[in-house]
Symmetry: C2
Subunit: 227 residues, 2 copies
Amino acid sequence: MVATHEETHVTIADRIFARIQQEIVDGTLKPGSKISEPELARAYGISRGPLREAIGRLEACSLVVRKANVGARVVSLSAEQLLEIYHVREALEGMAARLAATAMSDAEIADLADLLATHRRQIEDDPSHGYFQREGDLDFHYRIVKGSKNGRLIELLCNDLYHLVRLYRHQFGVVTRAQRALVEHEHIVAALAERDGEMAELLMRHHIRATRANAMRRIAEREAAAG
Amino acid sequence: MVATHEETHVTIADRIFARIQQEIVDGTLKPGSKISEPELARAYGISRGPLREAIGRLEACSLVVRKANVGARVVSLSAEQLLEIYHVREALEGMAARLAATAMSDAEIADLADLLATHRRQIEDDPSHGYFQREGDLDFHYRIVKGSKNGRLIELLCNDLYHLVRLYRHQFGVVTRAQRALVEHEHIVAALAERDGEMAELLMRHHIRATRANAMRRIAEREAAAG
DNA sequence: TGTGCGACTATTGTCGACAATTTGACGGAG
DNA sequence: CTCCGTCAAATTGTCGACAATAGTCGCACA
């Protein structure tokens, strides 16, 4: 066999896991809805074995909650749980920024600056700053986290928390503070370019606190309007 | 049936998961050893179904690593991975201490102070400060994390990272800096008593950095002696 | 003698069926 | 009319068997 230097034999459970994860994150499977094993098994044309393994992994990254002998439901985030997630994000991404300041290469930091320049042009061209800014925002945070070169940090944030973040953005419909967020991103990159880990952590934590405050305010408004 | 106000229908997978987790942490299953499904299924007198689910959960908390069509092995931590864990711990437990400073009740803080007083007496009575100090150290950190009242933080640290910490303590045989650690613990509790979250976080992060430095030094000594 | 190909074995991945438990409905009593 | 006990249907948990893959051993051939 030709040497596939990174071996990846994909199993059914892998595919189903990725598929359900995607459907939860993009809202096809709505928060609080039941995950019926026989139903999904028929829908996907597979057995319950791999499906159960996929559900187990979804539970591991907190996208579904499961009770014994009752079943699994898509997670439905409360405002309190969202606050908890933001506190964890602040801690972990602050550390990621600190580590990235020494672990990222000059080229990686330059690429990151280019990404922000692209964002800036798009915002100035189109103040509606809609869907793209959301993905762009996550892309920025992804790069910082990966730049930390800390495998455990990367796994925790990219494989677990960020999916939850994308889920709640659909659930609550929070809009990002595009202009201010971009400025804060630029400040963070400036700290990285100066190799100032302490400053990068402080700026990242401040940035996430501001994002949290924005989200909480929007949710409070929403609940006030709905209730 | 009598009303068990907190239902705990324990499944086979739950029991097997807890059992294997315990055996990994206490060294009965050694790092790097293979987790054979047929063998363990026979040993525990169960089917491979629940066993596979248990292995999946163990993989989720990083106690085993699994490759498709190859199998699972008990995780074997490298020094680099240990450093990564310490960085994550520093971030998360620092945040936990910050939150605990406002979330813990006066009674909980008083109990924590009592715990440290007990540790102090034991260390002064018996300078050998052996096994108990290890569990006492984890007990202290457990209480801080639980005191944060942040469910996600509690789950990440208590259900995942602390098991890894206990595992590596067996794997590397690192001894705790009993006296110095105790003093640092006391300073943290003092900050909690003053409801100074900022200070509690700084002290906790400093404490974990010191623990990390101690562990890294011991490991370097060990490797130098062995190599 | 070394190397590469091929069959073999053991383990993992997957499937369908059985058992145990929850949930909802139905009927009757207060 | 409401509440409780019983029952039935559906779902989850568990099991044993089948299929597919990886690693190994042996053998032929250069």
